[in-house]
Symmetry: C2
Subunit: 415 residues, 2 copies
């Protein structure tokens, strides 16, 4: 790729794209270039159809009977199994349930229970904050437990992993910079020290091929509303390696995790398998939206996805650096595509207002405090011409100073 | 009411019913008498419309922007506020989030934290099991904590409440028998002993007027998929009395409970109010179904609801005892309507097969192990003629022995 890429060249790349047909599976508003699928994935007619069936037919007509006839009760396991393919987890290790935050809580408790006598939880200072907040909550309920943070207690997470560490909580892809961690190497490093690892896949599930089983992973969690396109606030998932399941205990011991939930027994007896990481009744309409989204994913070749993801982001970096030079943008993401998720971030002192100006012109990315412009590249529905046009708008916003409009300085509740 | 009630008399009662028009707000399948709204409430066109808007317009067209423009982020608080009216909780004390099981976990932890030095959790042996399972999970993460159960450690819950007790977890209406506890008296009994109370409203929210504030309640939790008609697995709610909020700490300290969730701070700082009982991102499609259901509820007079609820159940008991005598049915629910929720249960040795035979004939109630036939009376969409017809079918199933058909002995996965 060279700086000579113009719109025609980008359109030619789209024409040759093997994933091009996937775009037709999604609905996207007119006049929008959507570079925020790493925050909320796009909707699809397949999803709408599933929700309609679940609401109007199964609930409206089937009522309570649908718990049996429509497979509602096993839906979290069925969907977990299908996500397993995307994250390299064999059957029976993944279940869709609750939220990422809550699944982090379960995984950390379970991991600490598997490593008695070790009291440290290692995490990243630059982690998506809820991971840290949940780790605080776990530490508060385990006497003696303490948190050690990369960037606070040591520069690199590897330096924090010693024989006091029960568990390491790591984001596979950093939400802000897009940096991709080496799952195999870090898992080995932790295991060599006798620690376990909880991988947060929020920004890698559906963004790139993940190989949990092959890396010897212990636990993983992730959301389904970003690259997996499950819908706003779609339920999260948790993966627990088969070898840990029988001894992994988590304190959110609700009836859906019981070995015999409908026997209505007085005492808790955890299911022997992954079901023990369930807790209570799950929202079926949200689950069914995810089912529709996974129907689309079932057709995707993850290697082709990764190849296109890197190409889109490389093109974006190249064009931004060529066309927006002199405006204070600094690349925050790794330049090497193999060390990056499916997003590109630049810092700029006026990032908030610039992003508002972009959004007002139909280029939707997002802002992360204090100064990050974040752009997600979702290969299923973003093409090379979209990248070219987005950079064209950004170059224009910077060149004209359009972002200085006072209305772009007003902060929204949710950024 | 006398035993002379025939179908014509029941139809006359429907004609005079002030809540009769509410039935038209719901969709119910042809040929079904639905007496299981206490397990999964019925759907309504209002709900379908909300889900359509949330999915097709707000998600499909608005994408990430809808977190601000469609009020998604504050939806749990908005819906909590509206549920507050139904449970007697003033604004700012109720939030819709997560599941009942998870909210029990939060409430018990918070209550124990408010009563340092007290280690006992009191609960009911006959509780819906997940309450007990969650209490076990809480006890497992609080050194020295222990569980004392009504029916196991003492016959009556009142006898278990002493100065070792931090918190009492009570179902307002028992899921099986329909017995209604005296909220004011039990709350006072606990407070007199220095203990707090967590009320489980799963079978009373939307079933009868609840007066949390007036009773001096501390905490309450409940689901929205039963009487509130929020849809299968609809999100649960939690109420925390204003006076406790600032000092109430719960360990599921996710980013949605943070005072400044979008500042992305490294340390957790709980919101000062009810938001601190939130944890992670909520499923918007399921929340929106509930919003539609609450639109219907906003029109309901709770006193009229209660009056009809008791009348429906009284009629059912009277007709069953008159027409099904000699078949081994024993009333499991309180006979006094003022001490009963909105359901009636009978025990019978062959309850499972009898319920299957009823369901095959379009009368949908449910079975609870080992021998309970459970019938819910939801005054918004069940009428007196429905009650009459349901008993007519039951009488026929018993008189003919139709329940002995071998196919009715086969247990389904979800009962």
């Amino acid at each position: 790729m060279t700086r000579s890429v113009d719109l025609a060249a980008a359109e030619a790349m789209d024409a040759a794209d093997p994933l091009r047909a996937m775009r037709d599976r999604f609905v996207l508003p007119q006049g929008v270039i959507y570079l925020d699928g790493n925050s909320l994935g796009a909707a699809s007619p397949t999803v709408f159809a599933e929700v309609d069936i679940a609401a109007r037919q199964e609930w409206g007509e089937g009522l309570i009977r649908s718990w049996n006839t429509a497979g509602w009760f096993d839906m979290p396991l069925e969907l977990g199994h299908r996500i397993g393919r995307l994250i390299g987890g064999a059957a029976g290790q993944t279940v869709v349930t609750d939220t990422t935050s809550i699944n982090i809580y379960k995984a950390l408790h379970a991991a600490m229970g598997l490593r008695p006598g070790r009291n440290a939880i290692v995490a990243e200072g630059g982690s998506f904050p809820t991971d840290l907040y949940m780790a605080e909550g776990v530490a508060a309920t385990r006497p003696g437990a303490r948190l050690k943070l990369e960037g606070v207690d040591a520069p690199a997470i590897e330096d924090l992993i010693d024989d006091t560490v029960a568990v390491v909580l790591i984001n596979h892809v950093n939400y802000k910079s897009g940096e991709l961690r080496d799952m195999a190497a870090l898992t080995k490093r932790a295991h060599d020290a006798g620690a376990l690892v909880v991988w947060d896949l929020c920004h890698s599930a559906g963004a790139l091929p993940v190989e949990l089983d092959a890396c010897g992973a212990d636990f993983a969690v992730g959301c389904t509303y970003k690259y997996l396109n499950g819908g706003p606030g779609a339920p999260a998932f948790i993966y627990v390696a088969k070898r840990h399941q029988a001894e992994a205990h988590q304190p959110l011991s609700g009836w859906w995790g019981h070995a015999r939930p409908f026997a209505f027994e007085q005492g808790y007896d955890a299911d022997a398998g992954i079901r023990r990481f369930q807790c209570g009744t799950q929202g079926m309409l949200s689950l069914r939206a995810l089912k529709g989204a996974l129907d689309v994913w079932d057709e995707v070749d993850m290697q082709a996805l990764r190849k296109k993801s890197i190409a889109l982001a490389d093109l974006f970096i190249e064009l931004v650096e060529a066309r927006c030079a002199g405006h204070g943008l600094a690349l925050e993401s790794p330049r090497d595509g193999s060390k990056r998720g499916s997003q590109v971030s630049f810092t700029q002192d006026n990032a908030y207002a610039i992003m508002q100006a972009l959004i007002a012109r139909g280029v939707i990315g997002d802002f992360r405090a204090p100064s990050t412009l974040r752009f997600g590249f979702t290969p299923l529905y973003i093409g090379y011409a979209d990248v070219w046009k987005a950079v064209d708008v950004l170059a224009n916003v910077l060149a004209t100073g359009a972002w200085k409009d006072p209305r772009f300085a007003v902060r929204a509740a949710v950024t």
